[in-house]
Amino acid sequence: MRRAALTAAGWALACVVLAPYAVMLLTALKPDAELRTTPPRLLPVLWRPENFLDVLGDPDFASWLRVSLVVATASTAIVVLAAAPAAYYTARHRFPGRTAFLVVVLVTQMFSPTALVVGLYRQFFELDLVNTYAALILTNAAFNLAFAIWILRAFFASIPREIEEAAAVDGCGRAGALLRVVLPLSLPGLVTAVIFAFIAAWNEYIVALTLMTAPERKPLTVGITTYVTAYVQHWNHLFAASVLAIVPVVVLFALIERHLVGGLTAGSVK
């Protein structure tokens, strides 16, 4: 009885959470003519999966997708390259300034670029970097760095120093021990950091909206909003594009779910 009630409540929760996204998917499958019917219908009369092909074949969409992929990939690479050595060193060594460094990292995690957006714009305006990949890539990298440092540090710290030292003595050398012992053992942390940094950059909106004003430099989050403006209202295309952008991200997010909370509440969870 209790079990049945729990199950019902659990499934009801899933339905409530997914209902808006069901509207998204069903609207994405409607032909133009069915977007404005009164009273509105939930299901399409004429199912039109071709909306997805329309979006995929739209040169604008291809351009937004390319920008998003370039920005997310490059900023993720920078995050990992910068975070891994810092995480490893702070996990293995005590040194003056370690705590200060970790506090600074924690503070950057709490500052979303939103609060600083006017300063970011001034900076890149004066450096003449508005509408460049570099500006958006570096901004994403900097603000996603903290999560990667925290999560990698936890994984590095959990690898017993003895294993690493034994490998080094056994002829691996220090670099070899890092590559052949530490890296494989901290792979789940690395995967988590990569997926998180990628998704955060993929979903980023306000900095892209501010810095990327040229049409050929807009990423997906900014670009797809042009499907619905005061003049044109292609809700079906907007939502088809959204579904295409959201589905892979949800799958990746589900993969790293176990480690997310630890990385986001860094410094607090023992």
Binding site: Q123, F143, G262
Partner: protein
Amino acid sequence: MRAEAPAPARAVKGRRWEALLWLGPSLALIAGVVFYPAVALVHASLGRYSITGVYQGSVGADNYVRLLQQPALSTVLTNTVVWVGAVVAVTVVVSLALAQLLNQPFPGRALVRWALIVPWAASLIMTSKLFVWIYDYYFGALNRLLTSAGVLARPVDWLGDDATVMGAMIAVGIFVSLPFTTYVVLAGLASIPGEVYEAARVDGASRWATYRRLTLPLLKPALLVAVVLNVIYVFNSFPIVWTLNDRNPGFAHDTMVTFMYKIAFKSALRDVGLAAALGVVNVLLILVAVLAYLRTVRWDDGEAAASGRA
């Protein structure tokens, strides 16, 4: 981490350079793209700019004085307090219940947890656009649902009616904040040892009494983290208010961050100095929250082992 033997001064100095090498890339990134913009923000807040954004010299604290004179400021401040307060309060209370539910075994629980990830993983701007469509006066699913269920006699213009805009935005804010908060509470629940509950069962305490006297106090650390982080996230939240309030002219339903953004980039004002002054105020408000966070959590710069993280 095991304490290392105290190193001689020379070694410490060498280590400092070594540390700089390993931390260098991170430090450069933080200095260049977090601290430098913060400095640029403060500098901009003290300057005057042409409409095209060219610096025209310092004006001292003039922008801050003008900020205080903005007629919309008190409305925007009130909106921000209501927005942050309502979203965080409701999110935390509902998340407590959801975490309790998702902590019990039932068939399909993994799938339900997976469903809860969707609003968290999806881009906020896409979810916001989705709700603009759901809230639509003529074609939206919400009016259709509520009128056919008999809850509403006539449709409501959720995003156009001054009485409902804030509530409509708050609902979306709660919707997207629930997953993270629920997962934080779940992590807190997982850290409570089972023996605690066994003792309560022996004592014959009721379920509700056990929850109130045992679970809630033990969840306090997780709840504090959830509250402070949510306050920061929701205060900084831009896409929801920006998108759902898009139709409405003026600043009647803006929060501090959308007000700042409109002044800087959208309104006829295009007033860099004024927006920067507001930006500095926002940063200081967040800093207060960050300090609260550092004080409330058990700050641990030692080894937070991966195993201890749910």
